[in-house]
Protein backbone atom coordinates (compact mmCIF):
# COMPACT_ATOMS: atom_id res chain seq x y z
CA UNK A 1 0.00 0.00 0.00
CA UNK A 2 1.50 3.20 -1.07
CA UNK A 3 1.19 6.48 0.66
CA UNK A 4 -1.41 8.93 -0.55
CA UNK A 5 1.27 11.43 -1.35
CA UNK A 6 2.92 8.95 -3.54
CA UNK A 7 -0.34 8.21 -5.33
CA UNK A 8 -1.05 11.88 -5.85
CA UNK A 9 2.47 12.29 -7.06
CA UNK A 10 1.93 9.43 -9.49
CA UNK A 11 -1.35 10.84 -10.75
CA UNK A 12 0.18 14.21 -11.43
CA UNK A 13 3.12 12.69 -13.24
CA UNK A 14 1.00 10.30 -15.27
CA UNK A 15 -1.51 12.95 -16.22
CA UNK A 16 1.14 15.42 -17.26
CA UNK A 17 2.88 12.79 -19.33
CA UNK A 18 -0.33 11.92 -21.14
CA UNK A 19 -1.58 15.46 -21.53
CA UNK A 20 1.70 16.97 -22.67
CA UNK A 21 2.41 14.10 -25.02
CA UNK A 22 -0.92 14.57 -26.71
CA UNK A 23 -0.41 18.29 -26.83
CA UNK A 24 3.08 17.87 -28.28
CA UNK A 25 1.76 16.16 -31.34
CA UNK A 26 -1.47 18.04 -31.74
CA UNK A 27 -0.42 21.65 -31.40
CA UNK A 28 0.11 23.40 -34.67
CA UNK A 29 2.78 25.79 -33.56
CA UNK A 30 6.13 24.10 -33.70
CA UNK A 31 7.65 26.13 -30.90
CA UNK A 32 4.83 25.14 -28.63
CA UNK A 33 5.33 21.59 -29.63
CA UNK A 34 8.90 21.82 -28.44
CA UNK A 35 7.74 23.41 -25.21
CA UNK A 36 5.27 20.63 -24.53
CA UNK A 37 8.01 18.13 -25.27
CA UNK A 38 10.04 19.86 -22.60
CA UNK A 39 7.22 19.36 -20.14
CA UNK A 40 6.87 15.73 -21.09
CA UNK A 41 10.53 15.23 -20.52
CA UNK A 42 10.31 16.94 -17.16
CA UNK A 43 7.45 14.65 -16.23
CA UNK A 44 9.52 11.67 -17.28
CA UNK A 45 12.35 12.91 -15.15
CA UNK A 46 9.98 13.21 -12.28
CA UNK A 47 8.93 9.66 -12.88
CA UNK A 48 12.55 8.55 -12.66
CA UNK A 49 12.89 10.42 -9.40
CA UNK A 50 9.81 8.72 -8.13
CA UNK A 51 11.25 5.37 -8.99
CA UNK A 52 14.35 6.26 -6.96
CA UNK A 53 16.68 6.72 -9.92
CA UNK A 54 17.85 10.19 -9.03
CA UNK A 55 20.92 10.06 -11.20
CA UNK A 56 18.91 9.05 -14.20
CA UNK A 57 16.39 11.77 -13.56
CA UNK A 58 19.17 14.29 -13.33
CA UNK A 59 20.65 13.09 -16.58
CA UNK A 60 17.21 13.25 -18.18
CA UNK A 61 16.81 16.87 -17.17
CA UNK A 62 20.32 17.86 -18.03
CA UNK A 63 20.67 16.11 -21.36
CA UNK A 64 17.17 15.93 -22.66
CA UNK A 65 15.45 18.91 -21.22
CA UNK A 66 18.56 20.99 -21.06
CA UNK A 67 20.36 19.92 -24.19
CA UNK A 68 18.11 18.42 -26.75
CA UNK A 69 15.16 20.71 -26.30
CA UNK A 70 17.42 23.70 -26.51
CA UNK A 71 18.76 22.31 -29.74
CA UNK A 72 15.22 21.95 -30.96
CA UNK A 73 14.33 25.46 -30.02
CA UNK A 74 17.40 26.85 -31.75
CA UNK A 75 16.77 24.94 -34.88
CA UNK A 76 13.12 25.90 -34.88
CA UNK A 77 14.05 29.51 -34.55
CA UNK A 78 16.58 29.08 -37.32
CA UNK A 79 14.27 27.38 -39.74
CA UNK A 80 10.82 28.82 -39.24
CA UNK A 81 9.44 32.28 -39.55
CA UNK A 82 8.21 33.66 -36.27
CA UNK A 83 4.50 33.38 -35.74
CA UNK A 84 4.14 30.99 -38.50
CA UNK A 85 1.75 28.27 -37.60
CA UNK A 86 2.13 24.92 -39.21
CA UNK A 87 -0.01 23.80 -42.06
CA UNK A 88 -3.33 22.15 -41.62
CA UNK A 89 -3.12 18.44 -41.58
CA UNK A 90 -4.46 16.59 -44.53
CA UNK A 91 -7.33 14.53 -43.28
CA UNK A 92 -6.20 11.40 -45.05
CA UNK A 93 -2.90 11.62 -43.33
CA UNK A 94 -4.51 12.22 -40.02
CA UNK A 95 -6.68 9.18 -40.45
CA UNK A 96 -3.68 7.09 -41.32
CA UNK A 97 -1.72 8.31 -38.31
CA UNK A 98 -4.63 8.03 -36.00
CA UNK A 99 -5.49 4.55 -37.10
CA UNK A 100 -1.95 3.42 -36.60
CA UNK A 101 -1.72 5.04 -33.18
CA UNK A 102 -5.03 3.62 -32.04
CA UNK A 103 -4.16 0.18 -33.36
CA UNK A 104 -0.91 0.31 -31.48
CA UNK A 105 -2.71 1.39 -28.41
CA UNK A 106 -5.26 -1.37 -28.63
CA UNK A 107 -2.89 -4.20 -29.39
CA UNK A 108 -0.20 -3.19 -26.94
CA UNK A 109 -2.83 -2.32 -24.34
CA UNK A 110 -4.45 -5.68 -24.74
CA UNK A 111 -1.08 -7.33 -24.41
CA UNK A 112 -0.40 -5.34 -21.23
CA UNK A 113 -3.63 -6.31 -19.62
CA UNK A 114 -3.59 -9.93 -20.56
CA UNK A 115 -0.02 -10.46 -19.39
CA UNK A 116 -1.31 -10.38 -15.89
CA UNK A 117 1.08 -11.46 -13.17
CA UNK A 118 4.11 -9.36 -14.03
CA UNK A 119 2.03 -6.32 -14.78
CA UNK A 120 0.60 -6.20 -11.34
CA UNK A 121 3.75 -6.69 -9.36
CA UNK A 122 4.05 -4.20 -6.56
CA UNK A 123 7.02 -1.98 -5.95
CA UNK A 124 9.79 -3.87 -4.16
CA UNK A 125 12.08 -2.10 -1.79
CA UNK A 126 15.38 -0.92 -3.15
CA UNK A 127 18.35 1.05 -1.99
CA UNK A 128 18.99 4.06 -4.08
CA UNK A 129 21.99 3.30 -6.19
CA UNK A 130 24.65 5.62 -4.88
CA UNK A 131 27.06 7.47 -7.09
CA UNK A 132 29.88 5.13 -6.22
CA UNK A 133 27.97 2.12 -7.50
CA UNK A 134 26.91 3.97 -10.60
CA UNK A 135 30.41 5.14 -11.23
CA UNK A 136 31.89 1.70 -10.76
CA UNK A 137 29.26 0.14 -12.97
CA UNK A 138 29.89 2.66 -15.65
CA UNK A 139 33.64 2.39 -15.54
CA UNK A 140 34.09 -1.27 -14.63
CA UNK A 141 35.06 -4.02 -16.93
CA UNK A 142 33.52 -6.92 -15.04
CA UNK A 143 30.26 -8.67 -15.46
CA UNK A 144 27.35 -6.25 -15.61
CA UNK A 145 29.67 -3.30 -15.98
CA UNK A 146 29.69 -0.97 -18.91
CA UNK A 147 33.04 0.40 -19.79
CA UNK A 148 32.87 -0.85 -23.36
CA UNK A 149 29.46 0.62 -24.17
CA UNK A 150 30.52 3.77 -22.44
CA UNK A 151 33.54 4.09 -24.64
CA UNK A 152 31.52 3.16 -27.68
CA UNK A 153 29.04 5.86 -26.85
CA UNK A 154 31.79 8.35 -26.40
CA UNK A 155 33.14 7.51 -29.84
CA UNK A 156 29.66 7.79 -31.23
CA UNK A 157 29.25 11.18 -29.67
CA UNK A 158 32.54 12.29 -31.10
CA UNK A 159 31.46 11.06 -34.48
CA UNK A 160 28.24 12.95 -34.13
CA UNK A 161 30.02 16.11 -33.17
CA UNK A 162 32.26 15.86 -36.18
CA UNK A 163 29.36 14.80 -38.38
CA UNK A 164 27.25 17.65 -37.15
CA UNK A 165 30.01 20.14 -37.81
CA UNK A 166 30.65 18.77 -41.25
CA UNK A 167 27.05 18.57 -42.26
CA UNK A 168 25.98 21.90 -40.94
CA UNK A 169 29.06 23.79 -42.06
CA UNK A 170 28.54 26.43 -44.64
CA UNK A 171 30.32 25.62 -47.82
Amino acid sequence: MESVGSIIMYVIIALSIIVFSVLTVTTRKILRSATYLLFTLFATAALYFKLDYEFLGAVQIAVYAGGIVVLFVFSILLTSHPGHSSEKLVSRKRVLGLSLAVATLVIAGYALISRCSVMFASLPAMDNPDMKTIGETLMGTGHGQYLLPFEAISVLLLACIIGGVVVARKR
Partner: protein, 103 residues
Protein backbone atom coordinates in the same frame (compact mmCIF):
# COMPACT_ATOMS: atom_id res chain seq x y z
CA UNK B 1 -3.92 0.99 -3.85
CA UNK B 2 -0.68 -0.31 -5.25
CA UNK B 3 0.99 1.45 -8.09
CA UNK B 4 1.96 -1.59 -10.11
CA UNK B 5 3.96 -1.92 -13.30
CA UNK B 6 1.02 -1.36 -15.53
CA UNK B 7 0.38 2.05 -14.02
CA UNK B 8 3.60 3.22 -15.50
CA UNK B 9 3.32 1.33 -18.70
CA UNK B 10 0.00 2.80 -19.74
CA UNK B 11 1.15 6.45 -19.80
CA UNK B 12 4.29 5.29 -21.54
CA UNK B 13 2.20 3.48 -24.13
CA UNK B 14 0.07 6.56 -24.69
CA UNK B 15 3.19 8.60 -25.08
CA UNK B 16 4.42 6.11 -27.65
CA UNK B 17 1.17 6.25 -29.57
CA UNK B 18 1.36 10.02 -29.58
CA UNK B 19 4.83 9.69 -30.99
CA UNK B 20 3.60 7.38 -33.70
CA UNK B 21 0.76 9.69 -34.56
CA UNK B 22 2.97 12.70 -34.65
CA UNK B 23 5.66 11.05 -36.70
CA UNK B 24 3.27 9.87 -39.34
CA UNK B 25 1.18 13.02 -39.59
CA UNK B 26 3.49 15.99 -39.19
CA UNK B 27 5.15 17.46 -42.20
CA UNK B 28 7.73 19.56 -40.48
CA UNK B 29 10.85 17.55 -39.98
CA UNK B 30 11.58 19.05 -36.58
CA UNK B 31 8.11 18.11 -35.48
CA UNK B 32 8.76 14.60 -36.67
CA UNK B 33 11.97 14.57 -34.72
CA UNK B 34 10.09 15.71 -31.64
CA UNK B 35 7.65 12.84 -32.09
CA UNK B 36 10.59 10.53 -32.37
CA UNK B 37 11.86 11.79 -29.05
CA UNK B 38 8.50 10.95 -27.53
CA UNK B 39 8.72 7.40 -28.72
CA UNK B 40 12.27 7.03 -27.46
CA UNK B 41 11.31 8.48 -24.15
CA UNK B 42 8.45 6.05 -23.73
CA UNK B 43 10.79 3.17 -24.35
CA UNK B 44 13.19 4.56 -21.80
CA UNK B 45 10.42 4.64 -19.25
CA UNK B 46 9.67 0.98 -19.89
CA UNK B 47 13.28 0.02 -19.30
CA UNK B 48 13.42 1.87 -16.08
CA UNK B 49 10.09 0.56 -14.85
CA UNK B 50 10.88 -3.03 -15.55
CA UNK B 51 14.25 -2.67 -13.95
CA UNK B 52 12.81 -1.07 -10.90
CA UNK B 53 9.98 -3.49 -10.39
CA UNK B 54 11.33 -6.82 -11.54
CA UNK B 55 15.08 -6.61 -10.94
CA UNK B 56 15.48 -4.04 -8.23
CA UNK B 57 18.98 -5.09 -7.26
CA UNK B 58 20.43 -4.59 -10.70
CA UNK B 59 21.08 -1.58 -12.86
CA UNK B 60 20.80 -2.86 -16.43
CA UNK B 61 17.61 -1.05 -17.31
CA UNK B 62 18.85 2.18 -15.87
CA UNK B 63 22.05 2.02 -17.81
CA UNK B 64 20.27 1.12 -20.95
CA UNK B 65 18.22 4.25 -20.54
CA UNK B 66 21.31 6.21 -19.78
CA UNK B 67 22.93 5.13 -22.99
CA UNK B 68 19.70 5.58 -24.92
CA UNK B 69 19.59 9.18 -23.76
CA UNK B 70 23.13 9.72 -24.89
CA UNK B 71 22.46 8.18 -28.24
CA UNK B 72 19.25 10.13 -28.60
CA UNK B 73 21.18 13.29 -27.97
CA UNK B 74 23.74 12.41 -30.57
CA UNK B 75 21.14 11.42 -33.07
CA UNK B 76 19.15 14.56 -32.54
CA UNK B 77 22.16 16.71 -32.97
CA UNK B 78 23.03 15.07 -36.22
CA UNK B 79 19.47 15.09 -37.48
CA UNK B 80 19.16 18.74 -36.76
CA UNK B 81 22.39 19.41 -38.56
CA UNK B 82 20.98 17.65 -41.58
CA UNK B 83 17.71 19.49 -41.31
CA UNK B 84 19.43 22.81 -41.17
CA UNK B 85 21.42 21.87 -44.19
CA UNK B 86 18.27 20.94 -46.05
CA UNK B 87 16.76 24.21 -44.98
CA UNK B 88 19.71 26.05 -46.37
CA UNK B 89 19.29 24.31 -49.66
CA UNK B 90 15.57 24.63 -50.09
CA UNK B 91 14.33 27.14 -47.52
CA UNK B 92 11.89 24.56 -46.40
CA UNK B 93 11.95 21.65 -44.04
CA UNK B 94 8.85 19.82 -45.13
CA UNK B 95 9.46 16.15 -45.31
CA UNK B 96 7.16 15.88 -48.33
CA UNK B 97 9.66 17.89 -50.32
CA UNK B 98 12.56 15.64 -49.49
CA UNK B 99 11.83 12.74 -51.81
CA UNK B 100 15.12 12.58 -53.65
CA UNK B 101 15.79 9.15 -52.23
CA UNK B 102 13.07 7.43 -54.15
CA UNK B 103 13.62 4.51 -56.55
Amino acid sequence: MDITVIYYLVPSLIMFCCGVYGFVTRKNMIAMLISLELMLNSVDINFVVFNRYLFPGQLEGMFFTLFAIAIAAAETALAIAIIINIFRASKNIDVTDVTKMKF
